[in-house]
């Protein structure tokens, strides 16, 4: 089993990396790009047979406390 956590900067937070990449894409001629947001992707391996609901609860807690900083970041959690 695997948990996948995608962390992105909150909309109100400056994202200079995203802006720089967006500008680079424009320079390369890719049109229609209206925003680039750079975050993190974390994969967590879980023991086979782990209770999905319990893992979801525990990882939500971990994502809120450690894996993301709620002041500046949002996260999405998926378990598969």
């Amino acid at each position: 089993m695997k948990a996948k956590i995608i962390i992105t900067p909150k909309k109100a937070v400056l994202d200079p990396q995203g802006k720089t990449v967006q500008t680079a894409l424009e320079h390369m001629g890719y049109t229609g790009v209206t925003g680039v947001h750079i975050g993190k992707y974390i994969e967590i391996d879980l023991a086979p047979g782990t209770d999905k609901a319990a893992a979801h609860k525990a990882l939500n807690d971990a994502a809120f406390k450690l894996l993301s900083n709620p002041v500046i970041e949002d996260y999405k959690l998926e378990i598969e």
Partner: protein
């Protein structure tokens, strides 16, 4: 007065802080990150560096170290805590200070001298800074852009918690004097109780003329004075 200076894996301004405190006539010792107790301590300095390799986010792992649980308790009991650079990041991650520090807006690591305006003398970290004095101190960081949401920022202002702001040589808070894009040119803040402060610049690296500036000593002198007053008050 006893200063406890924390030492995490990859702290690199710990010895500078020890040197500056001793130079100014007080005692300082290092406290290892795995220690669960601070011992006899009047002030804690969380020093600069790259604690735990800056993995995940600056300061994120340090927050959960045994020593930080002791620091949290020390702060909750009214003890003075100063975070410098990475130490500031550790204190925001630990929720001892509001807001967060994010990548510099130009994505560059800035290692240079900057000017600081003291926004208020009403704190144990700023009380001895001479009125109108512009401090010249170094910065060395890649993630020092102070961010807080609007409600937090309004609260910081209402409570007079902004302690230092980046300015030009004449004390003007201009955008060009802002090295990292910090909101409102914020270089350092304190908590609501005013016993925990953090700043991105390095006062400990500017405490003797040999280093090009001794302006940083005013911040340490403020702490010494605050402790002296506290000791007198306790004795009385």
């Amino acid at each position: 007065m006893n200063f406890s200076i924390l030492q995490f894996p990859a702290s690199n301004c710990d010895q500078d802080a020890v040197h500056a405190v001793r130079l100014l006539g007080h005692s300082a010792r290092l406290v290892w990150h795995k220690d669960a107790a601070l011992g006899d301590t009047d002030v804690v300095i969380v020093p600069g560096g790259f604690s735990y390799g800056d993995y995940l986010r600056c300061g994120a792992i340090a927050r959960f170290s045994p020593v930080m649980q002791a620091v949290k308790q020390f702060a909750d009991n009214g003890g003075l805590v100063l975070g410098v650079c990475n130490g500031f990041q550790v204190l925001t991650e630990s929720h001892l200070l509001p807001g967060a520090l994010i990548r510099n807006r130009d994505l560059q690591f800035h290692c240079e001298n900057i000017f600081l305006k003291t926004a208020t003398n009403d704190s144990p970290f700023t009380s001895k800074i001479p009125a109108g004095k512009i401090l010249r101190v170094p910065i060395a960081h890649g993630e020092g852009c102070y961010f807080a949401d609007e409600a937090t920022l309004a609260k910081l202002k209402a409570n007079n918690q902004i302690l230092w702001q980046y300015c030009d040589a004449n004390g003007n808070l201009t955008d060009t004097a802002n090295p990292n894009g910090a909101l409102q040119n914020i270089a350092g803040i304190c908590n609501e109780k005013r016993n925990v402060a953090g700043l991105m610049p390095h006062p400990e690296r500017a405490c003797e003329p040999l280093l090009g500036s001794d302006d940083g000593k005013w911040i340490l002198e403020s702490i010494f004075a605050a402790l002296k007053n506290k000791t007198v008050a306790q004795a009385a």
